[in-house]
Symmetry: C2
Subunit: 173 residues, 2 copies
DNA sequence: ATTTACAGGACCAAATTAGTCCGATATCTT
DNA sequence: AAGATATCGGACTAATTTGGTCCTGTAAAT
């Protein structure tokens, strides 16, 4: 666990797709659905969210579509996640002081704010430009090892491919 | 969103509680439930998971209970999260190469592994000793500002307090 | 005017998560 | 030896969240 949601996952795929387009034209929902192989209604929904969050500009009407609101290097992972699933907040108290009724007795708000800040810093440094850069994909791969407690074999799969009611085989994104 | 699960949240509270105990005695489930004000069955369940993951040692029978398996400084946030909700993996492909059927067409495994690594690094550096240290709580608070996209007012609350079917007021953890 | 495409939500089904409970086993006390 | 106290492991249910679809309205181009 500790995953981003599927919608966010898809959203980043879509953003990466848009980042690779060299022209400045608007790309419509159907086109992006074809390119990413993601279900059209889902793509549409995600594009709307990204637009509302200010990551995309939209053009209505015929010849309309979407384009990045700013250069890929200025769109961080934090922004992408925030756009699609709300602020990066590992706990309620990390960003909403006063929301938790136990706040007075539980002395963990401070630590959580620190932890959350550390995660945000890490995610802030990585941008859409890094993600969409094809050479970056090969670099940085398996270049570190982090021992995991409880890394059991129950990989449980799932989470990355859209549900396909007809086949047990995930058809992937 | 992008939250840890409630169980993990509780688990860290429990671990912090155990870390503050100065004696080397085993503390039982009921005692910890009283101290943390968390529902007894939930505390029990969490303690079992933490034991299975190797973060706690358990003692059976009368006078039995739980104690930390090692010093708080040697228990990182990554380990705590991993123990209760599986490995820290923002996407499937970040830790399970081959699990996603789109892996060949989607060029994002590399980036995701990097992103995941960055988050793990951040979470690795913070330990139970930091969390349980009362002076650390005051420090590190509001000492940074990270602009968030989409930080709307829909705080939506919730997630931090156990469900109480009888009262609409969350009774907190 | 018609066509194309975004905007915003309502809505349902499926999957996850939270929380409870039970029988079995191990250990201490008397 | 018997009884009391705790953990162990897992089954089970209810509530919440998420994923995904669809429908009505609005804006722009032809």
């Amino acid at each position: 666990m500790f995953r981003i949601s599927r919608i966010t996952d898809y959203g980043i795929v879509i953003l990466a797709q848009l980042a690779t387009q060299t022209d400045d034209a608007a790309h419509n929902s159907r086109e992006l659905s074809d390119q990413t192989q993601l279900p059209a209604p889902v793509v549409s929904k995600i594009l709307k969210s990204l637009t509302r969050a200010g990551l995309l500009d939209s053009v209505r009407g015929s010849k309309g579509g979407y384009r990045l609101a700013r250069p890929p290097a200025q769109i961080s992972v934090v922004q992408m996640i925030s756009a699609l699933e709300g602020p990066v907040a590992m706990t309620e108290c990390a960003i909403h002081p006063g929301a938790c009724s136990m706040e007075s007795s539980c002395g963990l708000q401070g630590p959580w704010q620190r932890i959350n800040g550390a995660v945000q810093d890490a995610l802030e440094k990585i941008t859409l430009a890094d993600i969409a850069d094809p050479t970056a994909n090969a670099r940085g791969r398996f270049d570190r090892f982090v021992p995991l407690v409880g890394l059991d074999a129950s990989g449980s799969g799932g989470h990355a491919a859209p549900n396909n009611p007809n086949s047990k085989e995930p058809r992937g994104r």
